[in-house]
């Protein structure tokens, strides 16, 4: 009986991520969203409820993709610390590749900074996501410690936060349009921070 939607929800969200990531929350108008998703306002509102609803769903999907990416990356490594070091290096390298991502900075951090003090819903969601990411780093580091990769005095929760702040700093500073080799060097220097924690 019912007519089925013409759009593909997944591809709509993927386009929304690109737009929001590139231009931010306030920088993305409904007009631009309509064009990016190739949907008219009625369909967008029927599907996602509001601009905020779409943004929240896009942000959550972006975070989930990032989580999968981390898990897939780590699967290639026997040593967790080696894996995390290369993870940092890879971020720096990927920031040098133009046209791959809509922005070098992290969408979650962009959201956190843009929404703080003015949009509680977005800010809380960004905070919750970052907390979950920190937790997944902490679990990895806990595991690394159990395996004897890390010094006994290493606190996985503290190192997890240090690691997260490295990534936030790296991807934020990448918006400065530094020469490629400087960004890659910075990724290397950040990776080497972890050496101080090795057993």
């Amino acid at each position: 009986m019912p007519r089925r939607p013409a759009y593909d929800r997944e591809s709509a969200l993927s386009r929304a991520i690109s737009l929001f990531w590139e231009k931010g929350y306030h920088g993305s108008s409904m007009k631009q969203i309509e064009e990016a998703l190739d949907m008219r306002p009625g369909s967008i509102y029927a599907t996602f409820g509001s601009k905020d609803g779409l943004y929240l769903e896009a942000l959550t999907r972006y975070a989930a993709a990032g989580g999968s990416e981390l898990a897939e990356h780590m699967a290639d490594y026997d040593s967790i610390v080696d894996g995390l070091q290369d993870y940092l290096r890879n971020i720096a390298v990927s920031c040098t590749q133009k046209g791959v991502a809509p922005s070098r900075a992290c969408l979650i951090v962009k959201t956190l900074l843009e929404s703080s003090n003015i949009h509680a819903g977005l800010s809380e969601q960004a905070q919750a996501i970052l907390k979950a990411i920190e937790q997944s780093f902490e679990e990895l580091l806990e595991q690394a410690k159990e395996r004897g990769e890390l010094k006994e005095r290493t606190k996985p929760d503290r190192l997890a936060r240090l690691l997260q702040s490295q990534i936030m700093g790296l991807r934020s500073i990448a918006e400065r349009n530094l020469p490629d080799e400087e960004l890659v060097g910075l990724g290397e220097d950040m990776a080497q921070i972890l050496d101080a924690y090795r057993a």
Copy 2:
């Protein structure tokens, strides 16, 4: 002959900094600016030209204040590395103090992330300011190296970038509303990164 302005330009800019720092560029409407500066649109436009003009001037003044703060802080230290380590620790501590600053994140970084891809003027100004800050770190580290505080293989330009990214990460992650002790611990961990570069 001429009537003199009723407002105080410096205090107007200081109020503008507070508002922009708290709410961001898009989050601060002209109506809010009028209220914060206690000025009517005509006066604001006659004085600063436009919202962008006001924002740029506020941003520049904010950066200048930050630069003075760094210089004053470093004046208290014989050892540059000690000074920089305490600088990081102090940032973390000041992020735990509520009601002091309008936001824990850095206004320059907020500007950089909010304006990238949508507002070339703001983005370029933020980039130029961050470059100047990096340079002042580099000069300090160059001096530290000459004094023998740092390992001979230390590259001041690379360490300056690493330092700047630490501050960006620290102040950004502070927007997550972490418990005070966790933020202070992170500041300490960041300070200790510098130990690896000591001679």
